[in-house]
Amino acid sequence: MPSSPAPRTPRLLFWGAAAAASIAAIPLLYLVIRITGSGIDSILEVLSRGRTWETAGTSLGLAFTVIIASLAISYPTALILTRVHVPFPRSFFTLAVLPLAIPSYVAAYAWLAQFPAMSGFWAAALILTLVSFPYTFLPIIVSLRTSDHSLEQVARSLGRTPITAFLATSFRQSTPAAAAGSLLIGLYVLSDFGVVALFRVDTFTRVIYSTYRASFDKTSAAVLAGILVLLAIILISLERKARGRTLRYRPDRGVANSLSRLTSTRGIRSASVAWLTGLATTSLLIPTASLFILMSEGTRALDWGELTTAVINTVVVSFVGAVIAVGLALPIAALTSRFRNRKSAAIESLSYSGLALPGVVIGLSLVFLSINVFPAIYQSFFLLAFAYAVLFLPKSLGASRSAFESTPPVLEQVARSLGKKPMSAWMFTTGRLSLTGVAAGGLLVMLTSMKELPATLMLRPTGFETLATELWNRTELAAYGAAVPYALALIAVAAIPAFLLSKAILVTKSEEKRPTEISISA
């Protein structure tokens, strides 16, 4: 399709997106206030510490290691599930998505309980990979399913081997999706505290936490967080480069080009099943089994009422957070999916700040904003849900954007020519066709919010306990046996959106057949 130059951005949409992005950028604003409020000396002092750069290097190194390892897991898994006849493909698909439900700190603790010698960079990289590889697996499998298989056949006919043909065509087509997933993983690793703390890796976020914790030295902590933002910008720009302009609308040309499963030998099939089983074992079975072992060692009786309240609170607050996140993401996604220019790129980048920053920075920035500007909602249910929206907006943004991108813009124009106003034309066509994709983004926010801790501790209403805070209440006091039921409940509750997410993708890809592309990627 010959691409025409982008029309001028509708003003209302632009300002709507700008407003949503500035809400997401509140933490950045806070950092700027804190950093500029201090003398240049203290900034220079932080910057001149050798340790600042050493830990920044470790953080980046860890981020790249986890990204590479996740890709190394995601590609074979996605290939097996799209091209090899394995038994129960749908169940294996769901099993490959479910690790999203395991909080990284719980996974780390569960592994540590069984293998106390685990520590350091590689142990952290392993656990972070096991909990975050679905972020690349999902967009890659979606891309492999929708990619034009005829290209691969052309490449074969031009003398390529199956592998080089794959690399030259379907793999190339999947790189934007893989890059987007990698960005989410990278940002997640940069801001992770739980795993690196347990495995004793000196990363940048750990230094930020110690600085906040030990000295309430707001300036150096803010300067450090500022550097983290810079690291995040590096990742974001790498991703944008990889994505390029390739993700514009791709028409789905129906059956002719869809992928036929390759005939596979028995050896390949058994190796595939072994791989999938091994993955499910390390990413799901080991941590949960370890938790069950730990639970049997606990002594204090479980208070079912407390657990039920925590489950309900967790579900409701993360759900409302997801709804707000989707609401904020819609105008930004609508803008960036149709109008790609410098301004829309800036708006998009701003909205990513939440994901890169440690929860403690987001928490303090919302404390600062709320108590000074909206004291009425301070430490209210709404503020906590709002914090989740700010933190995890990019996850919903990516999903909504790619759903919009895969909807042909001409449908909107047809609807307008048939008498619909711009908004209702959008709702009837792009909005309606992207519903599943948008919902998938919401599920992802919900699922991540359930596991969030530092901002939850700071912003929840006094006395409001979620599964994550109850878990913290117990682990903080080394009452691990008593903590386990909460860890298991958290995994079980988070597994629901993870499960729905995998269903949403299966539904769109197999039954609806037409344009909506679901991608959880950014």
């Binding site: 340790r51 906040y212 249910f381 501790l457 209403p461 306990e465 006091l477 949403a504």
Partner: protein, 340 residues
């Protein structure tokens, strides 16, 4: 259809949300009625039932907000004078020291309840419980006699890679502050450098050090005494591979650190808040701490848990606890040697 289900779920949840919030949190605590808002650096799992008991006895409801002591302190500083907090209960004196500027002076009737050495010099906070620094050791590889009694033994080649510390933890930092005051800056710096050179193992928290010693990952660990007693109570004393040893009474290692409580400035005259602090310092509460958390009660009349050496016998280095809030220099030192 999937999307429709989601939409339905949205409607249902949004409708029920206010209901749930109302059940799970009682907001609107302005302190005017019979309630207080407490920022507690001590976990709910530990002290939640204690606060219930206070409400039962006095009819004053406690709106407790739990969090890390340091995070709560940072939060109160960010909140400034708009903070909803009335009382701040902290896990360690260091965090109390950093928020002294927003704390009220406590009534003399309260501060005089405990010895001078366990409270702030300017009476903005008092200690509630005491904890001794101890060395946890792996009883399968180390005998009690081999355990060092002085900090300076920890840098011995014999313990290379075998000492666990939690440098980001407030009690470790208090210990370093104490060491700086007792032994001097130079000696402390040298010691830290030696420690790093001796491949000291860093952990996030005391509890994790104890777990590491208990599973044989390191032979020695610097922790607070009650972690051991608490873990022993949870898993049974017999299954503890880690044992603890108290240091030489004059050594900085034997520092007694405290958890403490203070009132926010606007609650200086608040009778409920004052009643709460008084209640914390009552003999019953102090002994509850002694028997539940295995910490030392600071009220002279209250008795410590069985099996603990007397608080007097531990003495600790001869320093004023208030001096322990001189954290910035300690942090700078820890940053310089690369521990945090």
């Amino acid at each position: 259809m999937f999307a429709r289900k989601i939409a339905l779920l949205t409607v249902v949840s949004v409708l029920t949300a206010p209901l749930l919030v109302a059940c799970s949190s009682d907001s609107g605590s302005n302190g005017s009625s019979e309630e207080i808002t407490l920022y507690s650096g001590r976990g709910e799992y530990l002290v939640g039932s204690l606060f219930d008991q206070f409400t039962e006895e006095t009819g004053i409801k406690v709106n407790a907000r739990y969090g890390g002591s340091a995070e709560l302190a940072a939060q109160m500083l960010e909140e400034g004078d708009k903070s909803p907090a009335q009382v701040y209960l902290s896990q360690d004196s260091g965090a109390l020291g950093t928020v002294e500027g927003i704390l009220a002076t406590l009534p003399t009737s309260i501060v005089n309840l405990i010895p001078e050495s366990y409270r702030a010099a300017n009476d903005t906070w008092i200690g509630v419980t005491g904890r001794a620094r101890v060395i946890a050791y792996d009883s399968e590889t180390v005998t009690e006699g081999e355990v060092p009694t002085s900090v300076f033994d920890l840098t011995d080649e014999k313990w290379r890679g075998q000492v666990g510390i939690a440098p980001a933890n407030a009690s470790f930092q208090s210990f370093i502050t104490a060491m700086r005051i007792a032994e001097g800056e130079e000696a402390t710096r040298n010691w830290l450098e030696d420690l790093v050179a001796n491949d000291v193992q860093k952990y996030e928290k005391n509890g994790l050090i104890l777990d590491a010693v208990d599973s044989g990952q390191v032979e020695l660990g610097l922790i607070n005494h009650y972690y051991w007693f608490r873990k022993a109570a949870e898993v049974g004393e017999d299954s503890m591979r880690a044992q603890i040893s108290f240091a030489d009474p004059k050594d900085p290692l034997s520092l007694i650190n405290v958890s403490g409580v203070g009132l926010l400035k606007k609650s200086q005259e608040n009778p409920n808040a004052i009643a709460f602090v008084k209640w914390l310092m009552s003999k019953e509460t102090q002994e509850w701490f002694a028997n539940t958390t295995y910490e030392y009660p600071l009220l002279p009349a209250a008795e410590a848990a069985e099996g603990l050496p007397a608080l007097d016998s531990l003495l600790g280095p001869d320093i004023d606890l208030a001096q322990l809030s001189d954290l910035p220099a300690t942090l700078k030192l820890l940053q310089d040697v690369g521990l945090i």
